[in-house]
């Protein structure tokens, strides 16, 4: 099993409670207004709702010091988008895992049967319908109806499989983007196929909510299916799917005979190769929102297994040396390259970007089950986008897009939201 709370006792014990997890990396802070990095502590304020607070609770659970599992404990654990900002902010100083103890705490609670009913519903939908949207399995392929594309589930063969993901499949407003994506790929001459109604969830939400048993089933079956389909590349335009496939799938120990790419990487390459020519000018001042799962959470996680040795008296030396990912190697440049290659567009950066990007608020089931938190988090980002004079916010994940759109509608705002694929389609 991947998520075991006991594996993180060392990290949790060495949390300095310094609160670095509550801010962007200090040297990167640019203003008071946007000086939070964690939606959860920013919204709920109790220390418990921070990376450090959750480490403290995880440790208490692991050491059996918390007997009573209260609703508030579940709130603390789950009112968090698992965006990983705390983790990046901690690691430049302390080299501790923060996000994985949060996942593991969830898995621990799930194992004890402490779940939020709302989450059980999502998992039930996953079990029964292979998606997290509580929609019938049979409708999964509907988004691609009428689209002239190979269907690998019907035995057709293609070099590349496009994995649309639950949200693109079922959200009628967004599935046009999935169609656009396939069209774009085909126009660029890519031999692409889909899995139609046989496509299943990537398991990301199950993993993030701590239902790792469910996650493993989906991840293993996806790997098996893609291996069996003989594709060389899996492309997805869902950052959540990409993140989990890149960072966690490899931990299952199954051979993956394919490369996982996010659509932005692929398009960036196609544009560079001249296979896609963006010629239409879009005169717009835009900003780019880094989806957590495309950015800091897309680095392949390397669990540390080894021995903690004491040297120099009390110095705790990890042998072998721990590999520390700070989220610095996420997919940051490809989407920006694409935006910059659109004629007439002016890309301005927000204050919190890349590995210390502010989350959109949708992640980790929050959008489906705690929409109030999701919308509040999004509204903070919208404020930030507006503060740099941006007319539109570009993102590369359907969850971010859905959530921003909902928040803008709710606020009656006029900021535009585009997926990067939409932008490219418009610029062709």
């Amino acid at each position: 099993m991947i998520l075991e709370l006991k594996d993180y006792v060392g990290d949790m014990k060495r949390c300095a409670r310094c609160s670095l997890c509550k801010w962007p990396p200090l040297a990167q802070m640019k203003s008071w207004r946007f000086s939070n990095n964690c939606p959860s502590i920013a919204r709920y304020n109790f220390h418990s709702y921070s990376g450090g607070g959750r480490m403290a609770l995880g440790l208490a659970l692991a050491e059996g010091r918390l007997d009573e599992i209260t609703d508030e404990l579940l709130n603390i654990v789950y009112r968090c988008t698992a965006c990983g900002a705390c983790d990046s902010s901690c690691k430049y100083n302390a080299e501790l895992e923060v996000l994985w103890p949060i996942y593991s705490t969830r898995a621990h609670l799930v194992g004890m049967g402490y779940l939020l009913p709302e989450h059980s519903m999502i998992i039930e939908s996953l079990r029964k319908e292979d998606n997290t949207m509580m929609q019938p399995k049979a409708d999964r392929g509907k988004w691609a109806e009428g689209l002239d594309v190979k269907d690998l589930s019907k035995g057709e063969k293609a070099e590349v499989v496009y994995h649309a993901g639950c949200l693109y499949c079922y959200d009628p407003e967004l599935s046009a983007i999935a169609r656009d994506t396939v069209t774009l790929l085909k126009e660029a001459g890519v031999d692409v196929g889909i899995r139609g109604s046989q496509e299943t969830c990537c398991g990301s939400i199950a993993f993030q909510l701590g239902f790792q048993g469910e996650f493993i089933k989906f991840a293993e079956s996806n790997i098996d299916d893609w291996n069996a389909a003989g594709v060389t590349e899996v492309i997805t335009s869902c950052a959540c799917g990409f993140g989990i496939m890149k960072s966690v799938y490899p931990l299952l120990g199954k051979e993956m005979k394919f490369k996982v790419l996010h659509i932005t990487q692929y398009l960036d390459e196609l544009i560079k190769q001249g296979k896609l020519k963006l010629s239409r000018s879009l005169s717009m001042r835009v900003t780019y929102h880094d989806p957590c799962n495309l950015g800091r959470k897309s680095e392949t996680y390397v669990p540390w297994k080894g021995e903690e040795k004491k040297v120099l008296g009390q110095f705790i030396l990890r042998e072998p040396e721990k590999i520390v990912h700070r989220g610095w190697n996420g997919i940051y440049e490809p989407p920006r390259n694409i935006i910059r290659s659109v004629p007439g567009i002016h890309l301005v950066e927000m204050e919190r970007i890349m590995e210390y990007s502010w989350c959109c608020g949708a992640g980790s089931g929050v959008k489906q089950t705690m929409n109030d938190l999701a919308l509040w988090t999004a509204s903070e980002r919208i404020e930030e986008a507006k503060s740099v004079g941006s007319e539109a916010i570009i993102t590369a994940c359907p969850w971010c897009e859905r959530n921003f759109k909902d928040a803008i509608t709710e606020a009656g705002d006029n900021l535009m939201v585009y997926d990067i694929v939409e932008l490219v389609r418009q610029a062709l």
Partner: protein
């Protein structure tokens, strides 16, 4: 009418194989992290049976579960599905009991409840699959017991039960009160919505400890000698043939050779 349903919290029998771990020293299954426990599926059938009775008659359904560190979010599902009350028999001494001890605790609780026209249990728990507890409860309470029911009806103070047998079913009639163990053929537990879950929060939930029952569980009557995961060895042999028919014929020969046919 008052109906009691015994529901058991068990480890998910459908967990990925890699997650199934045994502590061979303690002879126990290690609860996996990240895989929630479930209500034993046959017990869900039993609950459904009770709810169907409730649908037809004005019955009060009391769900009863026993163990240590029971999962409230899991077991309140019974309330969400329609049970009127949930009683948790929760105590450290209630952990790791054998079927007979379990039955005596459950029976004590049913006695404490006072009135139980029907007691439902699953035909067996999906973890140990012993299938003893229901009958043993009946024994303890001195009630008639009908096992492996696929359909239950209350008719003029009598139970009419369709009972699964190897080649079909038989119809049994029993007086009230009685104990009935339920089979999956009865049908799955009804769908529970989020609204049901939130309204379940308002229903009564009681926790009884051993002291509340004025008892301590009797010593085990079964001894667990060993617990291990059987080693599975698979040898794969590919049988070829020029035509599908030839391959099939060869396969049949091979299977006969091994004594499978």
């Amino acid at each position: 009418m008052q109906v009691v349903v015994c529901i058991k919290q068990i480890l998910d029998p459908e967990m990925p194989r890699s997650a199934f771990k045994i502590d061979s020293e303690k002879k126990r299954v290690v609860p996996p992290q990240g895989i929630p426990p479930v209500i034993s599926p046959f017990d869900e059938n039993a609950l459904e049976a009770a709810l169907r009775i409730k649908d037809e008659h004005k019955a009060k359904v009391i769900a009863l579960s026993m163990g240590n560190r029971l999962s409230r979010p899991l077991l309140t599902k019974a309330l969400a599905a329609g049970a009127d009350e949930l009683i948790l028999l929760e105590d450290t001494v209630f952990e790791y009991l054998d079927s007979f001890a379990s039955a005596s605790v459950l029976a004590a609780a049913i006695r404490k409840i006072g009135v139980a026209d029907i007691v439902f249990t699953g035909r067996q728990a999906a973890d140990w699959d012993s299938g003893i507890t229901g009958c043993a409860i009946a024994e303890e309470l001195g009630l008639p017991c009908v096992t492996i029911a696929r359909k239950v009806e209350v008719n003029r103070g009598q139970m009419r039960i369709e009972r699964v047998i190897a080649d079909g079913f038989e119809i049994v009639q029993a007086p009230l009160p009685c104990v009935i163990t339920v089979d999956s053929d009865l049908g799955g537990l009804r769908h529970v919505t989020l609204q049901d879950l939130s309204s379940a929060r308002k229903k009564p939930l009681q926790v009884w400890k051993a002291g509340d029952l004025n008892m301590s569980p009797p010593p085990p009557r079964c001894e667990l000698l060993d617990l291990y995961v059987p080693k599975r060895e698979t040898v794969c042999e590919v049988i070829n043939g020029k035509t599908p028919e030839e391959a099939a014929a060869r396969l049949a020969d091979r299977l006969r050779e091994e004594g499978f046919l």
